[in-house]
């Protein structure tokens, strides 16, 4: 599945919700499905600190693809983190660095990623793309 196919799938999933509580309940469900995070990487070195919730992000190359895992101490944030990982994990560095994440706005979560919210999510998204860029640059060098 391409990054955009995954995004379109999420947009479709969220279309059935016309109430905010349903959307949040779904994010709470998604948070429970997030792949367990290796406690070894739950340290300051992997911490993306926001104002309110803490987000830890770990990235590694798995063959030609980047694999992300993450954890956070707030549940709704965790649900959104699960969505970001679902969309971006398992793609090539080039795909990640060039990706345009339009699904966030389409499902009404743009506010949660706005810089004023300062909850670490925006920083996480930037960091994911930076990993894409860094691994891409490394590949070009080799």
């Amino acid at each position: 599945m391409t990054i955009n196919e995954a995004q379109d799938e999420i947009i479709e999933e969220f279309q059935i919700f016309d109430d905010w509580m349903d959307r949040y309940n779904y994010l709470i469900d998604l948070s429970k499905d997030l792949e367990p995070y290796n406690p070894k990487y739950r340290t300051n070195a992997y911490l993306i600190e926001g104002c309110q919730s803490k987000v830890w992000l770990y990235a590694e190359m798995d063959g030609a693809l980047i694999h992300f895992s993450a954890d956070t101490d707030a549940i709704i944030t965790k649900g959104i983190v699960a969505l970001l990982i679902r969309v971006l994990s398992g793609h090539t560095p080039e795909e990640i660095k060039d990706s345009d994440l339009y699904f966030i706005e389409k499902i009404g979560l743009k506010d949660n990623l706005s810089p004023t919210r300062a909850n670490g999510l925006l920083s996480m998204l930037k960091q994911m793309k930076l990993f894409g860029l860094a691994y891409y640059a490394k590949q070009q060098k080799n």
Binding site: W20, M21, Y24, N25, I28, C51, Q52, S53, D73, A74, I75, I76, T77, N112, N119
Partner: protein
């Protein structure tokens, strides 16, 4: 007795729906909403009277200068200061404290001197003193708090010593609402000739503030937290201190004469008001203060205490809810957590229920650390809030408990 429904009609913001729910505004600690009187004063002033203060001989300028100085008089009376020249307009509490930290620091702080603050300060009453201490080689000392969120008075005596040059203390905690026994503390400090600054940002809007009776040396507050506009605040200072302090910023309005060799400064209070004053905000602030006076500060305090009691009793019936800050002397601000639920999650869901609260560390990270937590949810209520709104909050919290169970 307040007619709250009538009062609410005076605040245009309050009548709206958010996410198809009636707005419940419980973030008054961050900023209060503005009554029509304040909004109209600002609009009318720009439409009809705008002209720079203290500058020109023409009609508009003298009119506006008169109103600006009349606003200073309103502030003076509101805080029971003795003299007009003891009321300095600033951009807000933070600006007031920074002004003081610089000017008082230049005049009176030397290496190894101590500046005393408390564990419950807002960052705005920590960082300016930290910067000053670094600049001068002075030390910052801290009054600890107990588990109720009250100052440890038993530690105060020792902390007020021969090296202490200033006590900078919050009148009321922004994060947990504790009202500090400031009059008693000021007496203790003065017995050792130590001047006291009170950070009144969370006190001025909740009851009577009498700087003369308190005998504080300095008092700082913001306009936008006391039903006035943004970008205006006040630093009250006793004349005897202000006279000895050098100017903070240089520029227009604060000078008497300027040559390239030397400048002589204007008298108080203009010595500390460099640049074109924010006269529209000052004049609108006076309207806000007059509005508060017209409702009656004692009545406001009584009503808000009733709201606090009602909310506290209802909160105590919610399983797993813990209130942080349990002093019997509190403003109508309640900081709390629901067991096992991140404050941000609580804030996000309440928002979608139309309820505006603050979640996070409330610019008081050292205080949160002393409780061993990273943040809370803060509901800060004021006189236009109602018991029905508190019921809505409690229903929301029960719903959140189910969602995150």
């Amino acid at each position: 007795m307040l007619d709250v429904q009538l009062i609410r009609k005076n605040f245009p913001v309050l009548g709206q729906m958010v996410y198809k729910k009636p707005l419940v505004y419980f973030d008054n600690g961050a900023t209060t909403q503005k009554p029509k009187q304040v909004i109209e004063t600002l609009t009318n002033l720009y439409a009809e009277q705008n002209s720079s203060v203290h500058r020109a001989v023409h009609y508009l300028s003298s009119q506006i200068t008169e109103r600006y100085e009349a606003a200073r008089m309103v502030v003076k009376d509101f805080i029971h200061a003795e003299k007009m020249q003891e009321v300095i307009f600033t951009a807000g509490t933070t600006a007031s404290i920074n002004l003081l930290a610089f000017s008082f620091g230049e005049a009176f702080i030397n290496p190894d001197d101590e500046i005393l603050i408390s564990e419950m300060e807002h960052h705005s009453n920590i960082v300016p003193w930290q910067l000053l201490a670094k600049r001068k080689g002075a030390k910052l000392k801290v009054i600890p708090i107990n588990e109720m969120g009250e100052l440890r008075m038993d530690k105060l005596e020792k902390l007020l010593n021969g090296k202490t040059k200033l006590l900078a203390l919050t009148h009321v905690s922004n994060a947990i609402g504790t009202i500090n026994p400031v009059k008693e503390i000021i007496q203790k400090a003065h017995a050792k000739n130590i001047p006291v600054l009170l950070d009144g940002a969370q006190a001025i809007q909740h009851g009577n503030v009498d700087v003369h009776d308190l005998d504080c040396d300095f008092y700082a507050f913001s306009g936008h937290k006391v039903y006035g506009p943004n970008g205006i605040g006040v630093l009250y200072g006793k004349e005897k201190w202000l006279e000895k302090m050098p100017p903070y910023q240089g520029g227009g309005d604060m000078i008497s004469s300027v040559s390239f060799e030397n400048t002589t400064f204007a008298d108080l209070p203009l010595k500390f008001e460099a640049g074109t004053a924010n006269y529209p905000a000052a004049i609108a602030l006076a309207e806000g203060l007059n509005y508060v006076s017209s409702i009656g500060r004692s009545d406001i305090a009584v009503y808000e205490k009733k709201l606090l009691t009602y909310a506290t009793e209802k909160f105590e019936r919610i399983d797993g809810l813990k209130i942080y800050g349990n002093s019997p002397d509190k403003i109508s601000t309640i900081s709390f957590l629901l067991e096992g639920i991140h404050p941000q999650d609580i804030g996000l869901v309440l928002d979608k229920l139309g309820i505006a609260v603050r979640s996070g560390n409330h610019c008081a990270q050292p205080l949160m650390k002393s409780f061993g937590i990273e943040g809370t949810v803060r509901a800060s209520l004021c006189f236009y809030n109602t018991e029905e709104e508190i019921d809505l909050l409690c229903e929301g919290l029960e719903k959140i408990k189910q969602m995150f169970a």
